[in-house]
Symmetry: D2
Subunit: 336 residues, 4 copies
């Protein structure tokens, strides 16, 4: 079978290699990959700029959907023929992150999904909603589970809550879609007029252009009749966090998920005290249980993830270069 | 002003009386009633069959919407001109029922809302969604808050959960509507084909005719691919509870809310153990906070309560007789 | 090595056999057993009266403590030399029971711990508190985790809560000890004066003799100034449940855990509604996370489990016969 | 009766005045004050340095215990002769701070407790544990409820958790005592050797001298075998918060409660993300329900608050000057 591996940093060093089709070891299954999706971490891992330096050679990428073609003897959870997605953490099933095997993430340190066939833990796969194509379902393992886990599993989102999503990165888009299907009110920000329009088309109740309104926290607050929003999915880094603190109501919550807007900037932690806010430094992604719960919500509400563009999987360099310029609105997917 | 009072049991003993317009005492407001709604408890109170015998003369009914026309000096929560609904418990604001004043229910022991002007605690009113008429908003204080409190406040309903609602009583209809706007999957039961159709029209994902399928618990379970439902809003009494135990998944919850189907029948409590179910004997209605949270969800999702029929308020006897035959689908409302 | 196995029902059919010392397969460890403990389920499994009929030959028993003497290659959670206990569910790490492998219980269907060396999942062991001997620590995997999971993990016990424990079975004794170390108030029942005295010695704040007071529910309520208890750990079956309903406060919770007092009897489920109680049909035992959390509490508070009697492990028949007469106060342990 | 009031800023401007004994208005009770306690806010209010400038003349102080000597007609919650404490928020009974009347705090804007007789809401008093003297019970309304609400009501402290308390301010001392009675492990910090000894005497499991170890966060972490503490009660301001972030485990929580160590300093909010910590900007004090729950825990465990010194209430200036130098270990109380 074919696989693509990292041997040294750099997109140009990705190698297409021939490997034997893997056999399932005890407790494992083998999936024939149908589609995969890119996350920004994948680019960092491939370029060598990720926080962790994994051993090479490494097959990158963590998000895949495909069909199970082999299972080891004692596996009962799934069977040959099941269409499943990989879970980012092969060893985090449910509950606290303390209960996870923190060395079990795909695409580093474990070999990832950029291959025709991959070996996964029988506990590290979930069935995906029938109404989604492989390309659509492949978007779910990281970005969607991250949004769901922060907003629903940990955030206990209720209908009627208001949610602020920042920008149009993939986690923000999923947060917007999940908030809407859960009956919440969504306020979205962007610096691009065309993206603001697409956010409204997706269902956002109100939008704020943060390029035009640098102090957008107050404007978001006004959009809630000055009550403040209940939840913020904060992906923008310290400057954005500063505004989020203005936007959220006393007793509300800010889930810090990323730093797309930069890593520099500081706050006085007493502002958290003065605003009576709960700030949650989220865990990476979430457990399998969050993925399963999310899938039921996606299936019940016939939700479709936003796919920006599909590449053939061997065009991985083009796909990564496209991701790097951050003009996508929705996930970048690889078809096998 | 005019009011209608109970002096001795029986619909024919309701008296239309002239009373002075009330003045707000310390901590109170006065509302000019725009609409009121009936609950089955009101019929029982008027007929003298309610579990508690209240002192008479008593102005019955608990659910009203109207305009605040007077406030006592120190009141800041609301102001003259606000359109508000009454809360069933005038003295239950938030949190545990232990924190409620259990003698503060309207329509007994406190004078209720069947009058042109009523005196309420300034803490015992909530603003209602703008998109609802008085007649629509008057349906909310008991039946809707009961459903919301059981399903959302206590039940922590999440998108993708499955909810079983029994019959087409008002609490069940509200539970159906709230479950849908929160992204849940709804299975509804009824013994009437026409009502099953109306439940589907309201958005139920599946229905079961319990007249045709007396052992409907198993059928509901099959409709969930044998996983069982996550929540049951159980209003049908012991026989229905028996079926609910079959329908719910291990780890799921049954909220017991009433006994429309009768009060007799028993279960072996070990069945609760064997099914690993959580059974919650719900509190009556819920606190003001549940009402406020619910209103935000109703407003965000532009939900409209189901109103079956509107009577002029002085036709209270006709309205009560209509309620008694239980052919209504939706709330019975009184216009002022 | 030596092991004892069940081949056909009956204590007299237990066989002492010679087997090869197990090798760890992928993801497994091997423990040299230092002590084991009995649970009533073990007697039922051996006698063939358990609800599930497991395949034979089967090594029975689920609770063991010992030293890890071998691990498979990739295991990092534990290492050779660690002193650990087995978890009842080898495949339930954390979170909802839905996330458990329900075929992973020790002592059936998986081979249990009645052997000098046993093979366990590397995820199915937990380190035990240093201050406990092997004999003491061996009491923890089932009875203690059951009590902790019901009272703390699911019951969210807080200091100052009141807890009713029924009788002096092992789950009840652990519930009493955990409630005390968590700052709760404990009321205990028994039909034996000497056991009531021992319960007081263990720290119970008050006791009720249910032989002398068949309607003990009301008496328990009076011991709480008529407020009712916050939690009941209900192990006594339907008759005891009936009393528990009288003892618990509105909003309180009853965790149904067993049926030591018999399986027959019924209730009207509307009583749960009238009392506004939450009734939880508990899951069997609990996940590894509950065991780990419990161990921290035991270590912090230097708690010692109550051990009634220690047998040599090959005297398993004597130990089981001793358990059958139910005169023990505390766990029955086997030393290796 | 005598009362002491603020008319303009400054300790020397406190006036001892004669006022009529108050009469209860609708919904009110009158308490004859037996003891009161000081909080730092009282000093700030009297000196005019508090964040809010209240109207004068104002009777300061919020914490009192005494006997109810009069109640208005319809009051049923309490009766003449009851020994009760005042609640800081006269209008926050239970649930979310959103449900509180935020203008109902004693000692500003409402007249406080520095008077022989005071008027309180009938909903704004709680019975106090029998084993406490008035002087001891008067310490509870602010500092103790703050600690309880952060650690137990919002923090869901469980037995076996580890808690870091900073310094020996009153909230920290109560947090230490509550953590201990709930079966938690306590690590305490101070810059004074004699105070560290007193903290150990109170039951702290370990202590750190932050004067000797400026980077004390790492040392605290080591005291937990590098797991990190579960809860931090952070009272020290931004610099202390920085260390707290080092001390807490992933998934643990920091409750920001004050700024005794100063108000300046900043953090990069991404550190909260990297550490996967939950940071809670706590509400002021807590609702009546937290006070009631706390009292049950205090009574069950016969806990005694730490009283540093008792002054005669008319020596308020001496008491405030004593508080200003911050040499107290425990509460400063006024006897009437």
């Amino acid at each position: 079978m074919l696989a693509i591996q990292v041997t040294k940093p750099g997109l140009n060093n990705l190698q297409l290699v021939e490997r034997p089709i893997p056999e399932p070891r005890r407790g494992e299954v083998v999936m024939r990959v149908g589609a995969a999706a890119l996350n920004y971490r994948d680019l960092e891992v491939i370029e060598g700029s990720y926080a962790i330096a994994y051993d090479v050679p490494l097959i990158p990428l963590s998000d895949a959907v495909g069909e199970i073609v082999a299972v080891s003897d004692e596996v009962r959870r799934v069977k040959i023929g099941d269409r499943v997605a990989s879970t980012f953490w092969q060893g985090w099933i449910d509950g606290a992150f303390e209960s996870a095997d923190t060395t079990s993430s795909l695409g580093g340190p474990l070999d990832g999904v950029l291959a025709e066939y991959i070996r996964l833990s029988s506990e590290g796969v979930v069935r995906v909603p029938h109404h989604l194509s492989d390309e659509q379902a492949a978007t779910l393992p990281c970005a969607a589970v991250t949004a769901w886990h922060a907003l629903v599993t940990d955030g206990h989102l209720a209908a009627g809550d208001s949610v602020l999503v920042e920008g149009s990165g993939s986690v923000s888009l999923f947060a917007l879609q999940f908030a809407l299907l859960a009956g919440a009110r969504v306020i979205a920000t962007s610096s691009s007029k065309s993206k603001l329009e697409r956010l409204l088309t997706l269902g956002a109740h109100a939008t704020v252009n943060y390029a035009e309104t640098p102090m957008w926290g107050q404007e978001v607050r006004q959009l809630t009749s000055n009550r403040g929003v209940d939840h913020v999915i904060d992906v923008g880094g310290p400057e954005s966090f500063q505004q989020a603190l203005q936007a959220v109501r006393p007793g509300g919550q800010i889930s810090i998920i990323g730093y797309l807007g930069g890593k520099t900037g500081t706050i006085n932690p007493l502002e958290i005290f003065q605003q009576q806010v709960t700030v949650r430094g989220t865990v990476r992604v979430g457990p399998r249980k969050s993925f399963e719960d999310m899938n039921r919500a996606i299936a019940t509400n016939k939700m479709h993830p936003v796919v920006d563009k599909v590449f053939v999987w061997t065009e991985i360099r083009d796909a990564l270069n496209y991701m790097r310029i951050q003009q996508n609105f929705g996930k970048i997917v690889l078809a096998f």
